[in-house]
């Protein structure tokens, strides 16, 4: 089972009496787009928070490349190659686009204080590589011309794309996107669709996606998990999910 990138079993998260996530299982293989869908308040974002280390799950195991990551610190998990975006865009607003990209490479750049103060050749080389890497990804998402713009001044769709580019520059193996299409117009949604497929096919990473836009989800997902009220409801390919009566009931509400 070495091709399993992420293997989540029995993930449960309780907030006091409230069970936000209840026994969720997820499997993501290499180079796969896997979606998590469910009605509002189903617990999707909470699952992401558990996987990325923002919450420590009450129960369950999270295996990334056969290594237990449940309980690790958030920054440790992202260093292992699992990086996420947020439902509400979180950029470093007052910093420029390129600075946002450089902060994301902090770990690769952070040698020591003195080499930076003295501008040693090694330090310069690392800075140069980081700039090139950042420029490469800005070009991929079409933001290169805005490199020295303040991130907070970008249009909403551009901010969304910058957030994805900023994740990519950390060289993740699994990218988790929390409702990346929310607030985008149909054109931008189409571009996003293409970007996500490109990430899988050309950059060979896996994507775990939360999304309410059903046409986007059905179009690109290799596998779909449905959760409702924190509990797994169904999983399967787009075709299987579309025809599943339980899923339809959960979305339309009972009665």
């Amino acid at each position: 089972m070495s091709q399993l990138l992420l293997d989540v079993n029995g993930l449960t998260m309780r907030f006091g009496g409230l069970v936000a996530v209840n026994g969720v299982n997820l499997k993501v293989k290499n180079r796969q787009i896997v979606s998590v869908i469910g009605p509002n308040g189903a617990g999707k974002t909470t699952v992401f928070n558990c996987l990325s280390g923002f919450y420590i799950p009450t129960e369950g195991s999270v295996m990334l490349k056969n290594e237990q990551i449940a309980g690790l610190k958030d920054y440790q998990i992202s260093r292992k190659g699992l990086v996420r975006t947020f439902q509400h865009v979180r950029l470093f607003q007052k910093m420029t686009v390129i600075e946002n990209m450089l902060v994301a490479q902090h770990r690769h750049l952070n040698t020591n204080l003195f080499s930076g103060l003295l501008k040693t050749p090694n330090y310069r080389r690392l800075e140069k590589d980081a700039m090139e890497h950042a420029a490469h990804w800005l070009e991929e998402v079409g933001l290169l011309e805005y490199a020295n713009r303040e991130a907070g001044n970008l249009a909403y769709g551009q901010q969304r794309r910058l957030e994805i580019a900023r994740c990519m520059v950390t060289q993740p193996e699994l990218l988790m996107l929390d409702e990346p299409a929310a607030g985008l117009n149909p054109n931008e949604t189409k571009e996003l669709d293409e970007l996500i497929i490109k990430l899988r096919d050309e950059h060979e990473i896996s994507i775990l996606l939360i999304e309410h836009d059903m046409s986007l989800v059905m179009g690109i997902s290799d596998h779909i998990y449905v959760i409702a009220q924190g509990t797994p409801l169904a999983n399967g390919t787009a075709e299987q999910i579309k025809g599943n009566p339980d899923v339809i009931k959960a979305y339309l509400g009972e009665e």
């Binding site: 920054y75 390129i98 946002n100 750049l109 490199a147 900023r166």
Partner: protein, 420 residues
């Protein structure tokens, strides 16, 4: 004019009246042996009612007053500066010219001016240090003066007990202050905003009270006096050398003794230290660590999701900020020759914070301007020294209304990208 305006105005005037009555209207006075409550004089009452009238009217016509404020043209400092490209080529020359002027200037002016300039330079150092913590990392620190005190007392004590020289103590002071910054950093890592402000405020007070009460070591409220002045490669600036066989500066260069040499020498050291601090912090701001501080200020959660260890980043901001204050403190002790806990009260923290806010959070140039304003202004307005705090308050209110982003807001670096 609607009734809510009138209601507001009456309310504000009422509050002003109550406060004025309590604070100025009545006074306690000793009548031989008993305390007696006395009313204010007629003249004072006239002032009080005049003030209340101003409050009432300004509230009543607040929209008009606001419009008036908005009508004041806002100077655009960016437009005053030369064009970007031209400025880039000019910059090294400009900096060199400023440094040269700063080196020559003290020989042409009075001792008092040089002394004041030295004080200003100390505040510039403090402002730059606090800027790391507040302006860049966004951690509100109200007890910054504690690190200043640590630096000052480190030198004072080492000099007093072990006779160590200023130059040897400079790095030790910075290092010890940094250690304190590190230690304070640990408990406050999880705190933000108001909570952090309160804890740091407490820390500042703890250090001051400790210095006040640890009489056996620090001399308590009496402070430490006779702290040795810095020397130039072992040459003293006194009339006579303290140690047998040692030379003084004027003897060595065969000049007449003048007390202004000492003042100028101190000033030049301060210039040197400030240049070092500016250079170092400027480098730090452009390094990964500087960007991480700012990222932490902008969005802590995003930082964590990108693999940044916020603990390390916060601690480094606290540590480096504190070490700058320790630097300044060591120099302060050497310049004064005498320190006591009096010099490290909360108001000092507030002034340093005011410098950072006034200058424009994160902006080094702004902080330098603000430090100059905050130290020179009180000197110019000596006659009003009783109203010093009032003037500061007024300045703050006006600034926040007129230029909330500070004198010279921080400019983002323009990073050159090779276009593919």
């Amino acid at each position: 004019m609607n009734s809510s305006k009138l209601y507001n105005a009456v309310f504000a005037a009422g509050i002003a009246f109550i406060l004025a009555c309590l604070m100025i209207g009545v006074k306690l006075d000793t009548d031989s042996t008993v305390l007696a409550v006395k009313g204010a004089t007629a003249e004072q009452w006239a002032w009080i009612f005049g003030g209340i009238a101003v409050v009432f009217l300004s509230q009543l016509f607040s929209t008009q007053v606001d419009a008036l404020f908005r009508a004041i043209p806002k100077p655009d400092i960016q437009a005053l500066l030369p064009q970007q490209q031209k400025f880039a080529t000019l910059k090294p020359w400009l900096i060199a010219a400023i440094i040269v002027v700063m080196m020559i200037w003290p020989f042409m002016v009075s001792r008092g001016s040089v002394d004041l300039a030295t004080l200003t330079l100390i505040y510039i150092m403090l402002g730059l240090g606090l800027n790391i913590v507040v302006g860049l990392a966004g951690l509100l620190d109200l007890g910054f003066v504690a690190f200043y005190a640590v630096g000052a007392y480190t030198y004072a004590l080492l000099s007093q007990y072990f006779g160590m020289s200023f130059w040897a103590c400079l790095p030790i002071s910075a290092g010890l202050a940094a250690t304190f910054g590190f230690l304070l950093g640990f408990p406050v890592l999880r705190l933000r905003g108001d909570y952090l402000a309160i804890v740091t405020l407490g820390f500042g007070e703890i250090i001051r009270i400790l210095l006040n009460n640890w009489t056996s070591l620090t001399g308590g409220p009496n402070g430490i006096s006779g702290i040795a002045k810095p020397t130039l490669f072992g040459l003293e600036f006194n009339r006579r050398a303290k140690e047998e066989g040692a030379m003084t500066f004027h003897e060595y260069f065969d000049m007449d003794y003048s007390s202004s040499y000492k003042v100028i020498f101190l000033y030049l050291i301060a210039v040197l230290l400030v240049i070092c601090v500016i250079y170092l912090i400027n480098r730090l701001m452009r390094m990964p660590i500087g960007r991480a501080w700012e990222a932490l200020r902008e969005d802590e959660i995003a930082c964590r999701s990108l693999g940044l260890n916020r603990t390390a980043i916060k601690l480094s901001a606290f540590t480096l900020g504190a070490s700058t204050a320790g630097f300044a403190g060591c120099f302060f002790a050497a310049r004064q020759g005498f320190i006591s806990p009096e010099s490290f009260i909360f108001i000092e923290s507030a002034i340093i914070l005011a410098i950072v806010v006034l200058g424009g959070m994160g902006s080094q140039l702004g902080i330098i301007f603000a430090a100059i304003i905050m130290t020179i202004l009180p000197e110019l307005a000596r006659e009003f020294s009783e109203y010093r705090m009032l003037l500061f308050g007024l300045l703050m209110v006006v600034m926040m209304r007129w230029r909330p982003q500070g004198l010279v807001p921080m400019k983002r670096p323009n990073l050159e990208l090779k276009q593919q």
